[in-house]
């Protein structure tokens, strides 16, 4: 039972770590990495809810069987792309900030 729910706890821990990095760290670059961790905890959570014990992938099975839900996996393919796009835009903006201010630390920028 403990190990059955462990993956949800892991997702929650990742979520908190990500939020913590976003809130505590000063550099925007590291904040973006925190954001990536935060988003990836969602991916882990979705993959975890799809799993059924003894479930198999619903691929090329001829006889009736218990299978894991393929829906969350498909949803997460989209979420991965969205997360990638967000990070790309974020880093592009940070690069631009660096070019204008020659620093990417939040404390030095908020003047």
């Amino acid at each position: 039972m403990l190990f059955g729910n462990f993956i949800f706890a892991a997702a929650a821990i990742l979520l908190v770590i990500g939020l913590m990095i976003i809130l505590v760290r000063d550099s925007y670059f590291i904040k973006m990495i925190g954001l990536a961790i935060f988003q990836n905890s969602m991916l882990l959570f979705y993959i975890a809810i799809a799993k059924i014990s003894n479930g198999v992938p619903p691929i090329d099975q001829l006889k009736p069987m218990v299978y894991s839900s393929p829906l969350p996996h498909v949803l997460m393919l989209t979420a991965i792309v969205v997360g990638f796009a967000t990070l790309a835009v974020g880093f592009a903006l940070i690069k631009r900030i660096y070019r204008k201010y020659t620093t990417i630390n939040a404390s030095e920028l908020e003047l």
């Binding site: 988003q39 969350p72 989209t78 903006l93």
Partner: protein, 483 residues
């Protein structure tokens, strides 16, 4: 099957196709391409309103409802789509060229840009505007939880970049802060969707709504609803989470804000209405989870603090931004009451809000332009602009005989009927404060001596008086969609 039967999905496809078409057309035609595609969208929306009968359902790829993605148009979202498309047309006609000039000015100050690069950047601006519009239309038209999340992200990504384009370099910091907070908010929405999916096993709004009563008592469902609502409130820029809005909008190009600021607030409140009234079991939320008291208290605190900040704010734009945040607080107060009539009032309030906000942001352009250039001899400040400003600001201050006043009276009556006395008192008190800060706006306008005739700012003010006549009908029609 004729072509027009696919019109619900055209609302999303046309802006996307037009956005990609812009890459291939000559730069001087791209402006007209945007106008053309928006006009097509508006005519489709009017057609949709004409044939609307209870609701229109459209299944993407022919996969029927719970399996595939469904688009559903009813009396709540079809008029909203029309309003949003009209907003884009209005923005393009009124300030499209001024955004253009900001873009050119920005590019001129940066060395090393060739002429080709400059053209590409102007195209990029229209591309982003159309992608944002596609995302917003998708949020409003869809009937699927995950599809909603994807469109939120599409719209947000375009918004981050549009807000970063400004002659002021501080806009970049505001934009990157908005990116971080906005992504956290969208992730909370994603988490909520996932938790609701675990208990109901579905993503379709109607399907989830049908299964909701049997699982609403599960803590997982309640957590899911809570994180979805938290994400929506973050996107809406409600008080404790409003700082991103102020920071991102403070240094952004005012021309872009005339579209982004009103549309993002009305769309996020639409999202919340759709989820609370059509997906969740609204009665359970009110009876067992103190949803009403929660929204009333958050809204009350938000209204008090943002009104105070608006009083303390110095520049024209800051006062406008904090007053916009206060309007969002009033809207949140409305969610405290569980009645279908209130939903109509929220939409009507949001409509009045966007009509005044558009005009206010056009005035921001005028004021800031006149602050940067000194008045030469022989050129007198525009009196017409003064007159328009007075009409718009009176409407924003909710003076009697304006749409804002009628809506506030409606909200006040309903709050009193449901014995929310403290929010009602706060509402009256902050409305008196609103007079004070709107008076400050008038003073700034008077000092600023705006030269140019921003006659186009008059349109929304006039439309708001038109809406005043049909206000009761709007509230009744929208209220009837729930049941």
């Amino acid at each position: 099957m004729n072509m027009l039967s696919h019109f619900p999905v055209y609302q999303v496809i046309i802006p996307i196709l037009a956005a990609f078409a812009i890459i291939f057309v000559p730069v001087h035609l791209s402006y007209y391409l945007v106008i053309l595609s928006v006009c097509v969208l508006i005519s489709l929306n009017i057609y949709g309103l004409g044939i609307l009968d209870d609701s229109i359902r459209y299944y993407l790829g022919g996969w029927s409802a719970p399996v595939g993605i469904e688009y559903k148009l009813d009396y709540l979202n079809q008029p909203l789509l029309l309003v949003i498309s009209l907003m884009l047309l209005y923005t393009m006609l009124s300030v499209g060229s001024s955004c253009f000039s900001v873009f050119n000015a920005k590019l001129n100050e940066e060395d090393g840009h060739s002429r080709v690069r400059k053209k590409q950047n102007i195209k990029l601006f229209y591309f982003l505007l159309l992608i944002l519009h596609a995302g917003v239309c998708g949020i409003v038209a869809t009937n699927d939880l995950f599809n909603l999340y994807v469109f939120i992200e599409i719209a947000s990504l375009a918004t981050y970049v549009l807000l970063a384009i400004s002659s002021d370099k501080r806009a970049l910091i505001g934009s990157v802060n908005y990116l971080i907070i906005g992504t956290v908010g969208a992730s909370f929405i994603l988490l909520g969707v996932g938790l609701v999916l675990t208990t109901t096993g579905s993503l379709n709004f109607d399907d989830v709504a049908a299964r909701m009563p049997s699982v609403i008592e599960s803590k997982i469902t309640i957590l899911g609803i809570a994180s979805f609502v938290a994400g929506c409130l973050l996107k809406m820029a409600l008080f404790p989470l409003h700082s991103w809005m102020i920071k991102a909008y403070r240094h952004a190009t005012a021309g872009v804000l005339t579209y982004i600021a009103p549309v993002s607030s009305i769309v996020s409140s639409y999202m919340l209405i759709r989820f609370i009234y059509f997906v969740c079991d609204i009665n359970y939320l009110h009876d067992n989870l103190y949803f009403g008291q929660l929204m009333a208290s958050i809204g009350t605190i938000a209204v008090i603090l943002t009104s105070y900040r608006a009083l303390k704010a110095q520049t024209f734009r800051d006062v406008v931004l904090y007053s916009a945040a206060a309007q969002i607080g009033y809207m949140t107060m409305c969610f405290a009451v569980n009645s279908s009539e209130m939903m109509g009032v929220i939409i009507s309030f949001a409509l009045a809000d966007i009509l005044t906000k558009v005009s206010l942001f056009i005035m921001v352009i005028g004021v800031e332009k006149s602050e940067s250039e000194s008045l030469e001899d022989g050129i007198y400040p525009s009196r017409v602009f003064m007159l328009i400003s007075i009409i718009v600001i009176l409407s924003n201050a909710a003076i009697p005989l304006s749409l804002g006043f009628v809506n506030k009276i409606n909200i006040l009556t309903i709050l009193m009927n449901h014995s929310y006395y403290l929010p009602a008192i706060v509402m009256v008190a902050t409305s008196i404060l609103a007079l004070e800060y709107n008076y400050k706006l008038l003073k700034i306008i008077y000092v600023a001596q705006v030269k140019e005739h921003y006659l186009i700012a008059l349109w929304p003010a006039l439309i708001s008086y038109l809406v005043l006549f049909y206000n009761q009908d709007i509230i009744k029609t929208i209220g009837a969609t729930v049941s």
